[in-house]
């Protein structure tokens, strides 16, 4: 991994020795963000990544969420793109259609996406897993596009976060909710999409980037302890590997510290929402206020 953009390469002693996989993913997402960029962030690890970037190498990054809130500096964990926290210290609020209009106009540098299936051209499915059925009678119905199709079409570049499984990394997805490079070179240009398409896929095993000529995803970096062979086993197409395959750098001590303050109850970087009692929830709100306020100063 190269620390491109405004990210300054950390020194060896800055890297954390003890961290979780989720913390590595948050840091990897953060490092895709350059200072000064407008980032359309989704909830969970992408949003944590955006806030970590803001609190480290990209202080002038502006985060936007779908409900129409711009530039929040929340003193509590974001519990959704329509959470009140999206308004905390925000600099602008607009209607949803207006925010997406700004994106279609070309103002948003980076959009963050996820899905249940991805293919080698970075097309994403978050609509339905057919598995023997079809669109009208799928085995598993998923929520649908939401704003994902719009982000995939119009954000200047996109970051995709996925779970690494063979049944999710496919030659072809069942349904294209969010277009990547469709069927290869020239396809996005045919429709005149405003955005450039996917730049990176971050999975729980590796980081993939896209060949500028073939538009195919290739393996660029493996997370510590993972081999290229491990990753190939969890990809359905004949995966190409970068001749300069890297190892994803660990998060820094500073990044880990920030993540543990932002997500103190490990809702996105641990067991999820299970076990979140009312007592724990209010305690989390109490604890976060002062700590986050100090951090955003």
């Amino acid at each position: 991994m190269s620390f491109t953009g405004s990210a300054v390469a950390p020194k060896k002693q800055d890297f954390a020795e003890e961290y979780t996989l989720q913390e590595l993913l948050v840091a990897a997402a953060a490092r895709e963000i350059n200072d000064g960029e407008v980032v359309f962030a989704g909830v969970g690890i992408p949003c944590l990544g955006a806030l970590v970037a803001k609190l480290t190498h990209a202080p002038n990054m502006l985060m936007v969420v779908e409900s129409g809130c711009f530039g929040p500096k929340p003193y509590r964990l974001l519990l959704g793109i329509g959470d009140n926290s999206c308004l905390d210290n925000a600099t602008c609020v607009s209607p949803l259609w207006r925010a997406f209009g700004d994106q279609q106009r070309g103002y948003f540098d980076l959009g963050m996406l996820g899905g249940a299936q991805v293919d080698k051209y970075g097309n994403l499915n978050s609509t339905a897993i057919f598995a023997g059925g079809d669109y009208y009678k799928p085995r598993t119905r998923l929520p649908g596009s939401g704003g994902a199709n719009d982000i995939a079409v119009s954000a200047q570049r996109t970051l995709i976060m996925m779970n690494q499984q063979k049944r999710r990394f496919l030659e072809k997805v069942d349904y294209i909710t969010s277009p990547g490079y469709l069927d290869g070179p020239g396809a996005r240009e045919k429709y005149g999409y405003p955005g450039g398409g996917p730049a990176v896929i971050i999975s729980n095993m590796a980081i993939f980037r896209f060949d500028p000529q073939t538009k195919e995803a290739y393996l660029d970096s493996v997370h510590p302890g993972v081999t290229a062979e491990d990753v190939r086993k969890e990809v359905s197409w004949d995966l190409k590997v970068s001749p300069t395959l890297k190892t994803t750098p660990a998060p820094t001590k500073n990044e880990v510290e920030i993540i543990r303050i932002l997500d103190a109850e490990k809702i996105y970087t641990g067991a999820g929402l299970k076990g979140l009692t009312a007592t724990k929830y209010f305690h989390m709100l109490d604890e976060s206020y002062d700590k986050l306020k100090a951090m955003f100063k």
């Binding site: 969970g44 129409g68 809130c69 119009s154 294209i176 429709y191």
Partner: protein, 309 residues
């Protein structure tokens, strides 16, 4: 009051029961405001209580109003971008309907959040469609015949057209409104401005009914002007368990209990028996949740929100 002259009324205040029964009829199309938070929950329970059927739901990303009204079998058709409970989880009733036809088959017509907003925008301006760069080349275009891809007559390449959405009834929940219907958000409204204007009839529900003088203090906050509004209903905590900005925080633990309860079909029926039919109205719902708990949600929001309005 007949439904014809309601927009000109100088006092549109009524109860939630009256508003729903006056405008929500069998076979009508409905749209709700909200995006995760600001979700229109109390009116959804009232629609469940009144039991109108063969409804069409038009919306961007409905949560309770999508899942519940599908689960009760009241909705026949959806024109939406997304149905789920955001961070709390997937929509079990949407899954049952689309995967297994329970309680009955659902007609699904899919757009994206932006393009549903554009459909309401077209409806709000009285024009037939809006062009967009979204949707083209995806499977949404392939499976949805309402999306038309054409060549821009001005030579700008291909564009997708999405038709105006004009729901029979819009239900929009805001922070405050006056009795004329001037409705203010102190926070985000998502697509509420265009949903309210596009609909034939618009019900404003609000946390608080205030004087017109209060509205006039900061007129830039008025998202919906009086002339589009047919009814004004005061429904404090109308979004619970969701958050309402500058009013109360998200009751996530309550939502997790609800999600666990409605996961199975009979569990959902029990939840409706308890929280929709087991409460006569929203007042009783609030009593059941507990005013102490609701006040606590408000106290937390006051701690975090920096707004001076």
């Amino acid at each position: 009051m007949s439904a014809e002259n309601t927009k000109k009324s100088l006092d549109k205040r009524m109860s939630l029961k009256e508003a729903i029964s006056m405008f929500v009829t069998d076979g009508c199309s409905l749209a709700f405001s909200g995006m995760g938070g600001q979700q229109v929950v109390a009116p959804t329970y009232e629609i469940v209580r009144q039991g109108r059927k063969h409804l069409t739901l038009m919306g961007d990303s409905p949560c309770e109003c999508g899942d519940y009204l599908i689960g009760t079998g009241q909705v026949d058709r959806v024109e939406v971008a997304f149905i789920a409970f955001a961070v709390a989880g997937v929509s079990p009733n949407y899954r049952r309907a689309t995967e297994k036809g329970i309680p009955h088959k659902l007609d699904v017509c899919e757009f994206s959040n932006f393009t549903m907003g554009l459909r309401f925008l077209a409806g709000s301006m009285g024009i037939p469609f809006m062009p967009t760069k979204s949707l083209m080349g995806s499977s949404l275009e392939e499976y949805n015949k309402m999306i038309k891809v054409v060549d821009d007559p001005y030579g700008g390449g291909k564009v997708a057209l999405v038709p105006a959405a004009i729901p029979d009834v819009a239900i929009v929940h805001v922070n405050r409104a006056d009795k004329l219907g001037n409705a203010q958000y102190i926070g985000f409204g998502s697509n509420a401005d265009v949903i309210a204007r596009a609909a034939k009839h618009t019900i404003i529900t609000c946390e608080e009914i205030v004087s017109t003088e209060t509205i006039s203090k900061i007129p830039t906050l008025t998202t919906v002007p009086q002339y589009v509004v047919d009814a004004v209903v005061e429904v404090p905590y109308g979004c619970h368990p969701w958050n309402m900005s500058y009013a109360y925080v998200y009751d996530l633990p309550f939502h997790m209990e609800m999600m666990a309860a409605i996961d199975a079909e009979d569990g959902f029926k029990k939840w409706m028996d308890e929280w929709a039919f087991g409460c006569q109205d929203h007042e009783q719902y609030c009593e059941k949740v507990g005013w102490g708990r609701l006040r606590k949600l408000t106290q937390y929001e006051r701690k975090f929100s920096q707004c001076v309005v």
